[in-house]
Symmetry: C2
């Protein structure tokens, strides 16, 4: 720790600054202005900012190192209020490397995915692996493990007492998106208990409340959960802002709403309860489009004035999480900032964290690694399987049966369907074109044989596609046209300790290993992005089509038992609307 003595001396002018950025366009998030200034950094803090008056700084400073800021913009370190590192498929240190180059200096993570796989151990790993990185990673504790109890089996179940224990881990700032809003609104003991633990601990209870309005919205807020990043319309944003909810503008790989946020902003330009998050960003998307700088850029494109957009992405997040000296470029604040060439592009050139230059002209200045080795225990704990487990066992030895099917729609949702098929030797071992088997194999040591269903419009014409990235329980999902290829894909993934696999005619076409919880791999984002791209190319060549996400994530949401209309879990087919199981065989 630095003492304030030298910083204050530098502010007075009695010592040189460590860094002096001259004549830069300062984005002032307090007053929502942009103007020319000199910025002095001493030790880990901004020690003085001298705005220009008539072409000259209002007071003189000197610096041991100086940067000519002419034509550049100085932007506070960006604060991502809600992000799942697992979506980027790399561990915290690699994530820090990746987001730092986009100007993000604080990330509030929700290790929901690894929590579903590895339970408390997974959450603890993320907390400890996130320590001492140049990006400050703060953790919120996953509130909904499993997402829908009773309808699926995850690798863990978190009850209020578990949450209470995890809230005591270092750098924990809250309870993560409370997705089971029905449980909260109805005050069911588990969810009410979890929210209460957050209130008692004095941390932040983070929300998730798509399309909920009126008295239900009031009930959720009254219960003690007060943020949301799931708005789908301008009116929804306006209602939530007026209700006093902190709305996070999200631009993720899956869902974006800068456009409607900007529309809402037009109506309430003085709204104070807006921050930002990225939620889920896939590796190649981050490389192409950025991370928090992308959220800012999109908001500016949509018409939110740049200093306000940047305030939402910095100061307002800092206030939310009690980071009193973050989120602004001002004397006394921690010197987290970026230099960007233009506020329109938000292309980040240089990044400083706590007064140290971490990125120079887009290049990381030091290697970033965690002291905690990646948690490479094999989490793919499945029973012994044979080809028989990959096809459907019929209740009759021969004849026709009617099957309840799932149908992929272009918009990423699913619809219920019915398929009549012939039974041979008590099995359904092949399906018409456009249909594929989808088997969900409990991989958390459940010890049960897989549940097999039928999917229409997977796009797969032959072969099999298997993945351990299958929200939210992340069991092993394999979709294929034949048992041989399916079983081979499953075996590959088992040996790899998780990942994505494509098999065609008995040949392994792709194996993307994700040995860290079956979700991540300890490697740089560049190599991960390349692998994912290659996997997607091959999947596409095999016919895989998807509505909204990349081919590499084609089947990752098939198990998401909260998105309409029908989904599959290790326990069976789920009718999302009623949250009841549907029988596979439909009575004639």
């Amino acid at each position: 720790m630095y003492s304030r003595k030298h910083m204050v001396a530098a502010a007075r002018g009695d010592e040189p600054m460590d860094w002096l950025i001259r004549g830069v366009n300062l984005v002032n998030v307090f007053t929502a202005e942009v103007y020319k200034a000199d910025i002095g950094v001493k030790d880990d803090r901004f020690a003085a900012v001298a705005p220009y008056q008539e072409g000259l700084p209002s007071f003189a400073m000197s610096g041991k190192q100086e940067i000519n800021g002419e034509g550049k913009y100085a932007v506070p370190g960006l604060i991502d209020c809600h992000v799942h590192i697992e979506s980027t498929m790399i561990p915290p240190d690699m994530f820090a490397r990746a987001v730092l180059r986009h100007g993000t200096t604080v990330a509030v993570i929700d290790p929901h995915e690894i929590g579903n796989v590895m339970g408390t151990e997974g959450v603890e790993y993320m907390v400890h692996a996130s320590k001492n990185l140049p990006v400050e990673i703060l953790t919120t504790i996953p509130s909904c493990v499993p997402a829908v109890p009773g309808m699926e089996t995850a690798g863990a179940e978190f009850y209020p007492e578990d949450i209470e224990k995890m809230l005591k881990l270092p750098n924990v700032v809250g309870i993560a998106e409370v997705m089971d809003y029905v449980g909260v609104i109805n005050q069911n003991p588990r969810m009410a208990g979890i929210v209460e633990k957050g209130l008692q601990a004095g941390v932040r209870n983070e929300g998730h409340l798509p399309r909920v309005y009126g008295s239900d919205l009031a009930a959720y807020l009254t219960a003690g959960v007060d943020t949301d990043h799931e708005c789908r319309s301008t009116d929804e944003i306006l209602e939530k802002l007026r209700a006093g909810m902190l709305v996070y503008i999200r631009e993720s790989s899956i869902s974006q709403f800068a456009d409607i946020a900007a529309e809402a902003w037009q109506e309430v330009p003085h709204a104070t309860n807006i921050a930002m998050c990225t939620d889920d960003v896939e590796p190649s998307d981050m490389l192409k489009n950025g991370q928090m700088n992308r959220v800012v850029r999109r908001c500016i494109e949509e018409g939110i004035p740049a200093p306000l957009a940047i305030r939402y992405a910095s100061l307002n997040g800092a206030i939310r999480f009690g980071l009193r000296d973050r989120g602004a470029i001002a004397a006394g604040f921690r010197a987290d900032f970026s230099l960007v060439d233009s506020l329109e592009t938000m292309e980040v050139q240089d990044v400083f964290v706590a007064g140290k230059q971490q990125v120079k002209s887009g290049i990381l200045q030091a290697d970033i690694t965690s002291n905690v080795p990646p948690l490479l225990r094999n989490t793919v704990d499945i029973p012994a399987l044979t080809e028989t487990d990959m096809v459907i066992q019929a209740p009759v030895p021969t004849g026709q049966v009617k099957l309840q099917t799932m149908e992929f729609l272009k918009n990423g949702t699913t619809a219920k369907g019915v398929l009549t098929v012939e039974v041979e030797d008590g099995q359904i071992a092949s399906l018409p074109d456009d249909y594929a088997f989808t088997s969900v194999i409990g991989r958390h040591g459940q010890g049960r044989q897989p549940f097999v269903g039928v999917l229409k419009n997977s796009g797969l014409h032959q072969g099999a596609y298997a993945t351990t990235v299958a929200h939210d329980s992340h069991n092993l999902v394999v979709t294929g046209t034949n048992a041989t290829d399916m079983l081979l894909a499953v075996e590959q993934i088992k040996q790899a300790g998780g990942g994505l696999c494509l098999v065609e005619n008995g040949e392994v076409r792709e194996l993307l290993e994700l040995p860290l919880a079956g979700l991540m791999s300890p490697e740089p984002i560049e190599s991960m992005a390349k692998k994912v791209e290659q996997f997607s190319t091959t999947a596409r060549s095999m016919g895989v089509q998807v509505g909204r996400r990349s081919p590499a994530m084609a089947f990752s949401s098939l198990t998401l038992t909260v998105i309409p209309e029908i989904r599959i879990s290790d326990l069976g087919l789920v009718d999302v609307a009623t949250q009841a199981f549907l029988p596979l065989f439909i009575e004639a």
Copy 2:
């Protein structure tokens, strides 16, 4: 403590609200809007707010008790970010009674005056006497006791270790206005140490930084002190807002700046770092003009839109002091609010705190008293005095001498002057008209005979005026034309344990007893206001004229050794600019 269960049930509509305010104009401080809504209160919280659409609430609620809010405005409980209760001359419970009727529900106090008199004991008394009142009183620990060490003697001296101890008292949220900014900027060990204690404890370091700009402002901020309520010009406000300082708009009995704040606001209407305070409000001023509602009213008068002015007076203060569920009318927030007839007058009709109606049509609904009895130990500890102590002992037995004098100016400041007088019998026992003796008697057990100086323009033509309210050390100050009256006034105050006294021709004209530290009296504001008014009337009739404050406070700032140009302390005449003592006798 209430559980959330019933509140959430009420929000859902499954239970009635305790209170339902129908069709009121809601001041929404989040979005800075005013619109019609129903407001439901259950237990201690707002459980739901239903805005009107096309003349109807967006959802229906019922209430055990209902209030017709038509034509009224619902305003969040106001938060006073910096106030000295002692200036209202009544203890915390009486203060709570008084401010509640003006819609103030949280007050962050600085017991600086009693701290100067009674040290830690005084601060502890204020903390404990402030507990469990309907107004939530939070304490900041006085940072500058005495205000100017070495130039005056107070009843205590606070060093970093003392501050550290007091920070552990209940409901302490910060270190109070760090007035010795020179000490902070130069990092002198005492002031740097005190600020450091605040940083270490994670509390708020509150500032006081009149007319300080540029690199000195940066140094103060970098040192870790980041609020100010002492701006004197629009440019000063703008510079501080841009520097990231939280500016409190102050309307006190002594100094007001809503006008310049509104001018600054015009320039930076999106500024986020503005809150409000009252600092010092004298009893009759509060009765006439209000308290926090007066600050809001003045800002609205000067052109700040009402919902923004109210945001500064509520939500922004709550954020400053980490009060996460205060400062807004929104589901989940504590139900602290007022109903006012108009935003222009801010006349408060009804006040609710934590869901309980405390004020109804301007009338307090329950008696408010502290469990802690007033601290009535006599603090007037002065040496035995004779008339000789009240006049000036000359260095020569006879002849003329030149005296350094103080001269009251109309604007409340002072100027240096010179007076040539005749010495008789080694004494100066009488003065020309327009001049009076002013004696400062250490009343904190210093055991020294008083220092006597000469004041021009006191207005007193005869008699004497004595007071124990004498900022900041609150020694006993007596101003008079003759030793007999002066001594009588002093004796009266000594017996009363402090207060204000007027004596004329050997007769006590007024004695306003302030037995609580010589600063306060345990009585309602109404009776205190009456006494102060009467004292002022009599003082005025005796000729007392003052620049900016009431006759009752005429001599209370004569000892304020930080306001130009010359002041007096128990140790001598102080040259404010150089912070050096001036000899009373000027060499010829």
